[in-house]
């Protein structure tokens, strides 16, 4: 499944690429990756909510896995964003680039999520706390975005061009949507992969114990 998703993505992406320069190509990866990261964090928060609602511990693993995948995509967003900044403006980082700064904040937040998980013993308590923190995370996304918009006037006047944004002509739009779909499918595949892997591990441990 994982391979299929990856291949589908690569296959569709390559033929569309020759139309634009390298800078544009990164855009087709960077933005879908960012959106997918949001989706993962949202899913993780949703699973967290389900956990608190139903007290069913299975949701804990699902929430954790979603956030794990989300963080990976978040790191990719930072990396691709950095590459994009490099090719567009010749710098590896730009505080004027809202998406990038937002993801930096989110990266810090979700890294703390993992620190939280590592420093509390596994159990319903840890699951509850992780779920609550995941909910805080998803609320932080729009609030941080607002904050960064406000901060721009404080820190850095907006001088860099923003023409890569809303206007996507026909073939560009199709490429974008396909890349986005592909990214989401990739994320879903990674998610299910990791989830089943962990579930199998847990089941194996249970079986070993009941035999012992």
């Amino acid at each position: 499944m994982l391979l299929l998703a990856g291949i589908a993505l690569a296959f569709y992406w390559v033929p569309m690429a020759p139309l634009e320069g390298f800078r544009q190509r990164i855009f087709y990866i960077h933005v879908p990756v960012a959106l997918t990261a949001y989706a993962c964090f949202g899913w993780g928060a949703w699973k967290g909510l389900r956990l608190l609602w139903t007290r069913d511990q299975r949701h804990d693993l699902e929430s954790y896995t979603a956030i794990h995948i989300g963080t990976i995509f978040g790191i990719l967003t930072l990396v691709t964003g950095s590459i994009w900044a490099r090719t567009s403006w010749g710098v590896w980082w730009s505080w004027g680039e809202r998406q990038l700064v937002l993801f930096l904040v989110l990266f810090l937040f979700y890294s703390a999520y993992f620190m939280l998980r590592y420093s509390v013993d596994p159990g319903p308590r840890r699951a509850n706390m992780s779920a609550v923190y995941a909910l805080f995370g998803v609320v932080l996304i729009p609030i941080s975005f607002l904050a960064i918009r406000l901060a721009e006037d404080l820190i850095h006047p907006v001088v860099f061009d923003r023409n890569v944004g809303t206007n996507l002509a026909g073939s560009q739009l199709v490429t974008f949507v396909v890349c986005l779909a592909g990214m989401l499918v990739l994320a879903a595949a990674l998610y299910l992969n990791e989830l089943t892997g962990k579930r199998v591990d847990a089941r194996l441990r249970e079986l070993k114990e009941s035999l012992a």
């Binding site: 007290r55 013993d121 596994p122 159990g123 319903p124």
Partner: protein, 194 residues
Amino acid sequence: MIRARGLERRFGETRALAGLDLDVPRGGFLSVAGPNGSGKSTLLALLAGLLAPTRGSLEVDADRAEIGYLAHEGLVYRELTAVENLELYGRLYRVPERRERIGMLLERHGLWEVRHRRVSAFSRGMAQRLALCRTLLHDPRLLLLDEPYSALDDDGARLLDAHLAELAGERTLVVATHDPARLRPLASAELVLA
């Protein structure tokens, strides 16, 4: 009043309680014995509702207002006085005629003279007695006592014996102890954890 089937609780990889079945009728008195680390405290915490079972079922026919829990640590603020502690809990447990009840309990446990002293200035035995006052403050229907005799001197222990004798039959009790023999005359059932 309490019914457990296959009760299990793990902490990470360790299993503190495994496959326990339990039945405590209303008015029953269960003494729980076992060496250190056998899961006595875990069992009481589960019964109180502080911990959730990892597996199995647990039904306790009492809500939070009706449960009195005595832990080894005392559950009282060290930097507050005896009265301040009991006033707080009295308020939270909606104890009627709070002041009178607090006064009565403190006096009964020999703490009336030191009621305005902070718990940090108490001896271990006095702190334990205060913890007992806290537990009995709201006249709970279900009492969960985790090694209540620890740190008590002879006077304190005799006082506790008297309390338990009064409560047995009237209320439901689950008492974890190192010395099951002491409770044997009162207990209706005994559980030994390995």
